[in-house]
Subunit: 384 residues, 4 copies
């Protein structure tokens, strides 16, 4: 009988992160892949990952709408509560043999609670990392609910084991988001016109002499400051005055703070040289990244994929605090002048050497293989 | 301005456990106690703790009905999801400065998620212990969501610190459930007629020459076995043929397995010498316990209060696995003959020396004092 | 392509009512029957209708646990809210062509809202009747949400049309609960031992010289009175002192009032001659009814099935107010003496003539045929 | 003791509609006004009515976030389910003597269900009207759940009575939205600069020689067509080429269709002469309306306020089907040329006579007075 493996995707970046896992599972002979798409991954204004997923040839087994609207943290809690209500019904019907929860967004704990409470073995991808806000609490709580851990670095593996998990079930697979970058590192040429392929709004600056990429997300615990933070970055980028490709932030309490800041800044300033995208397919995005002079913002892409591709990064603020870094990252606070100086410094670096800190490009296959073969159990006790 | 401290009570045993904390908070001059009663603590068939709470002179600030009916594990997950939906509204209205979550029942993670997601500092009572089922996952996950830890033993303190928590905010206060036992240990006389005061059903055996007490709860991960387990215990108790006071199990997926087992056994056997209670006030129960020949079952009362009172305990099955024990406990598996032999052995021990393994009787005051004075924060990162 | 017809069963009596509809749908060649079992129909303590349904050979397509525990009216509202959340996910996945909602229990409006809000054509069975409590509001509100109406009497048909519904889609099919009674009316012999087949508790009085049947449900709007009401009936029945078969009430806010009343009365009185059943298969129950001297209580069974079978009925209280009656019914208030006198009067009547006020026994086939053939639409406006 | 009157506001237009009721209740001596703000009335992207409410001097008693994100009808159903869950908790805490539900938006039935299921008397404002989509089902279903009816016209009164409601509790008070227009009708001068006061986006055409106003909402049952519908209107308005003030649509399944259509049209066309507002205070909006050459779209404002103010209206599509009209309305289908011709025709009409079809301007006081004085009950049966 085929092993039924349920993967719950709750956001576009999570999908990009595990795409190679899904591909490997889909092609595995003894696996029935149950793909559950939920939360912002279903919503237009966060990039409608589900369309991407289906366009990539995956069949969606169930859809769960659970994002509660609201400009406050209460909505994040409620979204999680609704997620549990809905996912437990989904699991009740699909009866998966094992459930996979990805990373540390707030709503992912709904997957972990539904599965663990229903005695379904739970695997967690990307535990053991360290950041500085609610994600930190969520990530380690999910580790304590999970039975199998697929982590992205040696540092992460050590931490998960220190958290009292059985070392037999903690696997450093590397991060599957790196997998896609292997091909791009080998052949980095920008082979498509991003304006034509992805639309977006704003000027369409010429990219042939280099450009910046910006991705800055709100930080949950400081969401009232989101608007100010985004403005500091905006000013720095404008003053640098290079062609810039700006990617819209993901959903979160405070997302509207950041979004509003971007909209207001655009409305009140005559901005040139900047084009805004909602999102982009993983491989296309990596090509854009591979050819950027500098990546600016606070995305984990700067820590992982950019390290593998050797792209200089200006990491702004606390969002990636204490994540292991390769040498490509310069950290700065939310101040226009400091951000600007750091961008200038990194422009001159041109390129760093490729780092395998977060994997060598085979994480997807390793994770799929483990999901297919680990002995199933849902009972554990702390190791100390 | 008074510090607003919200305590969420979700079950009758949790109330008994923290009663002395609540009393100390109620009497503290600079505290506004927000008492939130939820889940089975509101329901008749689980002992209606809320009536007891009000009879004890506490004012209930908010009530949250969130127990979903169902004879399966899905209902436990859903109860938790509804709890998050409801509690986040309650917190949104009450705006507590700090929230207290108690122990490790499945639904308590709803308190932890709502508070932590809303950036409200979260204190957890009784983390760091070790058991063998879903409670184990819940307990440590709540630890990773919490900012302050009030643990009941040195072993628990060490474990919470190993989990990466800041030692400055991990306090071994002892278990407040022990506090009530101080008075009983000093003066253990049975000063009331339990039949008259608490009703219940079944024969009313004479207690003056000693009696057994039985408390056996279902074990979540084995709920289909609950009925068999309870029958093994039942047979052993019947064969011992001493006056017996049997306490009804608490709510859980599987509660009905145990309850059904008890009902069926009663219906099919002519049982003498056994009286059944739904529940009892903390102090009265401790007097009953203090005068028992042996406590039989799998309640944590056997590990904690009975140790302090020196009462012999026959602990059946895996529910208290790996909890630190004093010498008063004998562990047995679910087999009639083995349970019976252990009861006989313990009857002959008569009494053990009082142990302070789980506290010296001042935990309530210590916890209340800490809740009132700790600097408030909700931001943390793992310590390694 | 087969028409997908979703029927939502939320309680044991609703199942009995539509069983012949389900059988006809199951046997129809161009129909895919989607059977959704929800609410108390899934719960042991309300008779676990789902087991009966499966034993009768129906396949359950989806299960929805949505009963919130609680001894108050708030729980009824919340159960409905959860029902909408869950049923809309179910409909989203099953994509039925038409949805069927049954009668007027509070939780049935969840079916009606989910379907109508999702633009799925909605059929309602048993609209247009008149009672005196929350069911009254629910029933007519569901009529206003529904697109097709299968009513049980001419009076009901007139009322639904007066409510502004298009007469083309209001069909007097009779009540399908009558269908089962056709066979029993033809051959009423009691061909099984109810004690042996259905267990239950209490004495097992000899039934060969006749017996009473009692079914009394709580009335939502008066739930604090439920306990007193049930006691009046209990006293009357005890004083009559005939063999009595008593059926446990269904779920409702207040169910516990009635249940508690029954339990307390049993505990405090030495009751003989009364046996208690949780429930019984439809056809068996009808045989029990057909041979009863009198049916006592407030069940709609007295108004419908008993009329068809010619069984004398003492209808107590307001629950069946304004439902059309045949001559077999005597209405009384909640007073012991009056109930007793009425029982005595009815005993002497022995039998009434069979009435077809609520149908001729072919309702199930008619409804199934209409569900399979009506043109599908979900757009309507009031007719005046 | 003061009568506790709870009013639930779920959208910005509903607030505008009942503002004069709230003012009268706030000033009534024996009333405790419990103002509950929920759903889109709390959300920035639908105009954040709650800020307006507080700026107007009302105190908000409770906030309920219940809007589930999603571009489909399922989200509307789920929003309603969450609303019931949350509102029943709110009512449980506030214990209102009577609850007021407004009009017919899909989520308003949550108010009606929570109140009626909890035996709280329910008043409904604006029943008895006729439209052509899901609102139609919702409106009449709420009527059947409600105990008191405050309707806006004689036609509406007749319909509610025909629906079987007791005529003693059906009151034609007129529509309170008209109340604000009394002052504007007397003194219609545009006394503020809308661009300066309300921001918005787009060109800022000169308004001194007249202008169009556009308000077009998605129609739930046709949401896939929303985008095409809005484009037809857009083209007609562009071709007319007069200064135009365009108001953003309200929330609904399909809102994003309409919004997307507007955004796309703006992005792809060089639009001049059009300014877009999210919303405006009631009285300011009425002044804008009073001075408009024509109101275009499908808002009920065209049927009510515009009739009272004598403003010519081009009503597009089916949304206002069968609402009683004064002579100021011309109805058209969704075709550019036809819409354009109708606008041209209406421009030449200049002004119509004021109509009192929907009230004389004292509805707010009448409704408040009735809410304060009607005998309270929650029990009813259909009148036929």
């Amino acid at each position: 009988m085929k092993r039924k493996i349920a993967v719950v995707i709750t956001a576009r970046p999570s999908y990009s992160r595990v795409k190679t896992v899904l591909t490997a599972l889909k092609n595995a002979p003894d696996v029935e892949l149950q793909l559950i798409v939920a939360a912002s991954a279903l919503l237009d204004r966060y990039g409608n990952a589900v369309e991407r997923i289906e366009a990539d040839g995956f069949e969606v087994t169930a859809r769960v709408f659970n994002v509660l609207e609201g400009e406050n943290l209460t909505a994040a809690a409620k979204t999680t509560g609704i997620g549990i209500l809905e996912l437990s019904t989904v699991f009740d019907n699909l009866k998966p043999d094992i459930v996979v929860s990805i990373a540390d967004r707030f709503e992912t704990i709904a997957t972990a609670i539904s599965a663990s409470y229903m005695n379904i073995p739970l695997a967690h991808i990307q535990g053991g990392e360290v950041t500085g806000n609610i994600d930190e609490k969520v990530r380690h709580a999910v580790t304590k609910l999970a039975d199998y851990h697929f982590v992205a670095s040696e540092g992460a593996k050590e931490r998960v084991i220190k958290l009292g998990e059985n070392p037999d079930f903690v696997f450093n697979t590397g991060c599957p988001s790196i997998d896609l970058a292997v091909e791009v590192l080998a052949n980095p040429e920008l082979d498509f016109d991003p304006y034509q392929k992805y639309g977006g709004v704003g000027e369409k600056p010429d990219l042939s002499n280099g450009y910046l990429v910006v991705m800055q997300h709100p930080v949950t615990n400081e969401y009232t400051q989101s608007r100010q933070h985004i403005e500091e970055t905006f000013k720095a980028v404008i003053e640098i005055n290079l062609p810039t490709l700006w990617f819209w932030p993901n959903i979160d309490a405070g997302a509207d703070g950041t979004s509003t800041g971007i909209r207001a800044f655009r409305e009140n300033n005559n901005i040139q040289n900047v084009h805004f995208f909602k999102n982009m397919d993983g491989i296309d995005f990596l090509r854009i990244l591979a050819n950027a002079k500098v990546l600016v913002g606070n995305s984990s892409v700067g820590i992982r994929e950019a390290a593998f591709l050797g792209v200089p990064v200006v990491n702004v603020g606390t969002r990636q605090n204490r994540r292991d870094r390769a040498e490509n990252v310069v950290d700065v606070v939310h101040e226009t002048q400091i951000i600007k100086d750091a961008i200038q410094w990194q422009i001159e670096r041109i390129r760093y050497q490729s780092s395998d800190l977060y994997g060598d490009g085979s994480a997807g296959k390793r994770i799929a293989n483990l999901l297919t073969t680990v002995p199933l159990h849902f009972h554990k006790t702390i190791s100390y």
